[in-house]
Symmetry: C2
Subunit: 340 residues, 2 copies
């Protein structure tokens, strides 16, 4: 018999971990706006401005990611050299922030791109590589920066284009998790890697709608594969669907026989107050990364949440293909984090 570390029954999309990898420490750094939001006190560090002493927003973003990784490791009295691998991604073309952070950290590095689903993607791959026995300790991380993303994906920032009501505010933030084969803390117990789902949405100012079908598909698959009751999780939290996308996903979940409220929420809805002028909510790789590495993991640690399903959601939007008339494909990956 072939020795297997994980388990995925034939035909199913969900992996159950035999030796659930442990989140032994984590860190979150956010921008000023996120610091003013309802969870401002739950983050490790709030930047006082968007440049943090750097010459460009891009340099500020990669520094933020690097520092989140170092901060997460430092909570375990570890340095970057103590991590065997860095799994990271961001929204910038060519993953510029992750590449430059990895250059400074000098750890072996694998770059990932799942748009705003990247934090979940890095946790899932990390969990598999640990449960598989290939590594003992690695860091999974993701980040985004409002001003680097806006000028890359939409309009020159200085142009001051008025956002549409369905648009979301790309979060400024970086989250990093130290994942280990041994230790104490919340564990990654199962994961579902999603398929690309595209129902033909073409509006790049309405990413929530583009991602909702993928989110619902992955959640449905996860619950069905594991044969869980629909209220198994204390909280199912999607990445960054925002108000519109979350409502759509909720409707799809009801249609699929899964009860949404009170077990379902969305990081893009949670991150900001309605008064903060973010239209349909937050988005960006950093959105679910900092909500996880800030308030959500704190609530798991305190026992307020025992079983969390983080569903990273990504709008795989390319300005080039959008200009060519293509629709926006969505993807969602689910990662189950449980205490005890």
């Amino acid at each position: 018999m072939v020795v297997t570390a994980g388990e995925k029954k034939k035909g199913l999309q969900t992996v159950v971990f035999t030796n659930p990898p442990i989140l032994t420490s984590w860190a979150s750094i956010v921008g000023p706006k996120e610091g003013e939001g309802p969870w401002g006190n739950s983050f490790d560090r709030v930047l006082s401005d968007y440049l943090t002493g750097e010459a460009s927003w891009e340099k500020a973003e990669n520094k933020m990611l690097q520092e989140a990784v170092e901060l997460a490791l430092s909570k375990n009295n570890l340095l970057a050299k103590d991590a065997e691998l860095l799994l990271a991604g961001d929204l910038l073309n060519q993953l510029a922030s992750s590449n430059f952070a990895a250059r400074q950290l000098k750890t072996p590095f694998l770059g990932l791109y799942g748009a705003c689903s990247t934090m979940a993607e890095s946790l899932i791959i990390g969990a598999m590589l640990l449960d598989g026995g290939f590594f003992r300790r690695l860091v999974a991380a993701a980040c985004s920066h409002h001003y680097t993303a806006e000028r890359q994906f939409r309009f020159p920032t200085e142009q001051g284009v008025q956002p549409s009501p369905s648009s979301q505010w790309t979060a400024t933030g970086a989250g990093a998790v130290v994942l280990e084969a041994q230790g104490s803390g919340p564990r990654i117990t199962a994961a579902t890697i999603g398929k690309v789902v595209d129902l033909g949405q073409t509006d790049s100012s309405n990413m929530g709608s583009a991602m909702a079908p993928a989110a619902a598909d992955t959640i449905k698959m996860h619950i069905a594969d594991l044969n869980y009751p629909s209220d198994y999780y204390d909280l199912i939290v999607t990445g960054d669907l925002g108000i519109i996308g979350m409502a759509l996903t909720g409707q799809l979940m009801v249609k699929d026989g899964l009860v949404p409220a009170p077990y379902y929420s969305d990081c893009g809805v949670l991150l900001y107050d309605e008064q903060q002028g973010v239209n349909a909510g937050g988005s960006g790789c950093g959105c679910s990364a900092v909500m996880l590495c800030g308030p959500l993991l704190a609530k798991i640690q305190s026992g307020e949440i025992n079983k969390l399903l983080l569903v990273g959601t990504g709008a795989l939007m390319s300005p080039t293909t959008s200009f060519q008339g293509e629709s926006i494909p969505g993807i969602a990956h689910a990662v189950a984090i449980e205490m005890g």
Copy 2:
């Protein structure tokens, strides 16, 4: 004792697979220029033009990737639905080609970005996920298209800017490998995930120099970790360093006590004839992907090569950070493919 599938000794960067995953089939599709090169007959399909009936080069690129995946599976009488996972990446911003190919293929999908090292990255992650027991069959793939990449990374194609002698020709091609836990064929026996190395090179028309230090670092680490003699491999082949980068890597290997010739070559040097006007050689994710999935795996199957070390090399170049004066970080991942 924790059950481990793979093995990586503490402090080492190289993983040795316990149940080496098997490359059970593969496929390569190339553009017209690659078809006219020295290995033209070794590819499964040569496109007659760069659009292949599509409305844009981008659409042609994602179709080429999709077809390479389907063709690789079809050689085992399999369909896309028979693959449990697609691991893929490309050079386009937001991995547009891979996302759209994954949308059509409808398999669970993880997007990867390692610039031109992506084929090696997808093989390494794929091998770990199979050896770890999480999947039975997956597809690792990568692609690039000369005309989509040139206009994204450098100048509008219609501008006809004269390339510098140190520049490389981004290959048009897609390669896909079906990796399985069981079956017959060449096996992935070991892998080294590289670190980002950056010696300060800033010339975006000289990617070979930017990648050479990373390539040499990973090869040295791989050979040292496994305590192999420097002639263990019948061939060490880097991804796409081209003539300049390959010469630099060769010098670094001599310095490190590793004998380069005749055991060392480069896909970017091999893919084209000198007469084809490619300056320093080929590049792009597709370069090492099609050399592997075309001539190299054919030579392994025929017994001409028994032990191959593919060292995927990536210049993590971002036009945005380059405009901001940043240097070009390099990365290299090594994957050992052995017959029998």
